[in-house]
Symmetry: C2
């Protein structure tokens, strides 16, 4: 008999995302393991039992002082894993919007003090406390939207010491928020102004100085590169990612958001953990990514906010057998915190089914983030889940602005208070 310190009952549906001994990653995303009228029991911060509510009393006893949460006919889903964020920054770039409305391009906006380098300036000059405070507020709002694990990239310092400082803040933010944060080193987010005329020297600095330090101090799980014209070439990206792999980090790549470049092909060649964006990927590369086991992280709000294409792919990758994950890509350029909105954009724009979008935002995003025990509701796994006042799981992705009633991380309600 299981002794629980929390049970959740009176639910229309529980989505376990655990359909076998190991959650299925990838193409077969239809089956999300729905338990109608399901219930969940938690003990010591982990899921102790999940099944139909009518079977609960046969398997579970409440410990003294245990809590019972009533789902009011709503749904319970695993906490979302946000597989791609630039959430660690200072300041904002609202001032750019009238310039964009007036039709100014990226270079003109940068000339007027905007663009990525304006966030680099704000981030470099911010104190640790200011950076942590501003980022913490974003992370808590992400959690209030249902996310319990979040990948966090560095990339707005673009100096060796500055990037290390950003990565050191990640465990501090995890401590403050209670969330699972996955640090990714993105020193190659852009060529810093100091290296504008000698970008290869910056690549050398990353490879010889910063990356070894990141690895030695275990400051990041992954290394990522922004592989686009004007940022880093495929050749530079390959040098950085091979160095990272040799040091034991996982490889991620921002590929083909703006142009078809061979970035997706590089991801396949390196068997990268993920290739992200892919708005301009060549159809022939889908099979390469599938064969190499690369997860594609799609960022549909960024596509809407920034690209001419306006819509991120989705269906094409699923149909090609590529594992698809989702992320907010929260950044000062496209400031979105809500994974339910990302799911809706992936469904209505990228033509995923709601169940595929949920898989992409949970188990697949967990895999893309190296968190193999996240993204499911199954016995022994962390009790990270969200309750939504929705009549069925497929309303996630259907409705644009679903908000959870409560979100649990390790069996405790997440709260910024």
């Amino acid at each position: 008999m299981i002794r629980a310190d929390l049970i959740v009952t009176e639910l229309a549906e529980v989505a376990t995302l655990a359909v076998g001994p190991v959650p299925r990653i990838g193409a077969a995303m239809e089956e999300v393991g729905i338990v109608p009228h399901g219930a969940v029991a938690v003990a010591d911060g982990r899921v102790a039992w999940v099944g139909p509510e009518r079977a609960l009393h046969r398997s579970v006893r409440l410990r003294a002082g245990a809590s019972r949460v009533e789902g009011n006919g709503g749904i319970l889903v695993p906490g979302f894993v946000d597989a791609h964020t630039h959430v660690l920054f200072a300041g904002d770039r609202a001032f750019e919007l009238p310039l964009k409305a007036a039709g100014l391009g990226y270079a003109e906006i940068a000339h007027r003090g905007g663009g990525l380098y304006s966030t680099v300036r704000a981030t470099r000059s911010a104190t640790d406390e200011k950076l942590a405070r501003e980022t913490e507020a974003r992370l808590f709002r992400m959690a209030a939207s249902g996310s319990t694990a979040i990948e966090v990239k560095s990339g707005y310092a673009l100096t060796s010491a500055g990037e290390l400082r950003l990565l050191r803040l990640v465990p501090e933010l995890a401590r403050r928020t209670g969330l699972r944060l996955v640090p990714t080193f993105l020193g190659a987010h852009a060529v810093p102004p100091e290296f504008a005329r000698r970008p290869d020297a910056y690549v050398d600095q990353i490879i010889r100085r910063t990356l070894p330090e990141v690895a030695r101090r275990r400051l990041a799980r992954f290394c990522d590169v922004f592989c686009e014209p004007g940022f880093f070439t495929v050749r530079q990206s390959e040098r950085i990612l091979r160095a990272a792999l040799a040091l034991g980090l996982g490889a991620k790549i921002h590929a083909e958001e703006f142009v078809f470049s061979g970035g997706a092909r590089l991801a396949a060649r390196l068997r990268a953990r993920s290739a992200d964006h892919l708005l301009r990927a060549h159809p022939a590369d889908r099979a390469r990514l599938a064969d190499a086991g690369v997860t594609v992280v799609l960022l549909p709000i960024t596509a809407f906010a920034s690209s001419e294409a306006r819509v991120s792919p989705g269906r094409e990758f699923v149909d090609a057998g590529v594992p698809v994950a989702l992320g907010t890509d929260c950044s000062p350029n496209s400031w979105v915190e809500s994974m339910p909105l990302v799911l809706a954009a992936a469904v209505h724009g990228g033509r995923l089914t709601p169940y595929e979008a949920l898989t992409a935002a949970t188990v697949n995003a967990a895999h893309a983030s190296g968190l193999e025990d996240a993204g499911t509701i199954s016995a022994g796994r962390p009790a990270d889940f969200a309750l939504f006042p929705l009549p069925s799981v497929d309303h996630l992705g259907y409705r644009f602005d679903a908000i959870p009633t409560v979100v649990y991380r390790q069996g405790k309600p997440v709260s910024s208070r």
Copy 2:
């Protein structure tokens, strides 16, 4: 000296949207009347005073038992006016999404029990109480997102008695929620199945039977028509709207969402209160709409969810001097309740500035809905406003998922409890 029963202080900015004796409607949308470090005083449900907080104590005294709300450095904006909704329906259409993902078209989805007529079936068979309960929940969530006035269309009954029933529910919903609801008769939402072979007979029924009853009982402020191929022709739309105008109702039209048809031109010819959607409008018709004083209601989430274009216009209409308003278009086809998300879509997709989007979602939407005293913060007007934990007003439209901390209608917090 003003005697207030509520004051709101410690705000970074107040947007009054009242820049002159009469709020400016239309092209000049830059000036939203920002009061830095502003404060607002409320008496008897109306705004009694608005100005810089440092001037508050010279003008305002608190009544006994008055409340003081601290803005924590956030912003205060007028409650949004959602200028276009189909929020009064029963059921949902989440089941269509896998069909859409599989590439099925409208006709095939309808054949499998989906589409608009499936909502007509659900709405016709729902009891008043079920309809009111489901709609009330949506309205409360809209209010929680910052909307205090909402236009509500009929249109999912498509019988004379059924449409009248829907319109009679609107004042009941206003009573239950405390929100300002503007009823619009949309009997011409689609040709009902019973009239499939003789659509003109349905138009005749609307003109001879339903509209006169709507007018006699004062059940609607506006009459709207879905003017698209397969729905109602420009000629049929003109007949219906002329009949409505003759009965004293205002005219609205769903025009050129799918094809260029002359619907926008009809709106200009009739000097309609609003022309809505306009994804396929001809550029030359912008001047016609501006000259005729027609407000264009843009619905950017619907454009993203349903259209091939994916993006609603915005900039083009503002630059042509057309007053632009915004709405959620909340319906079972594109279920969105949050006006802040609509603002962000209008900014990032339609290239409005954040201030233009705010104007479109407040004073301009109020004008489109016939509520000339809504959408501003000014003395004597209803104290309908939202507080957001944002550092400046232009973060509305910049950020995709802003959520108010509290929303006031007639000086009282809106709450579904």
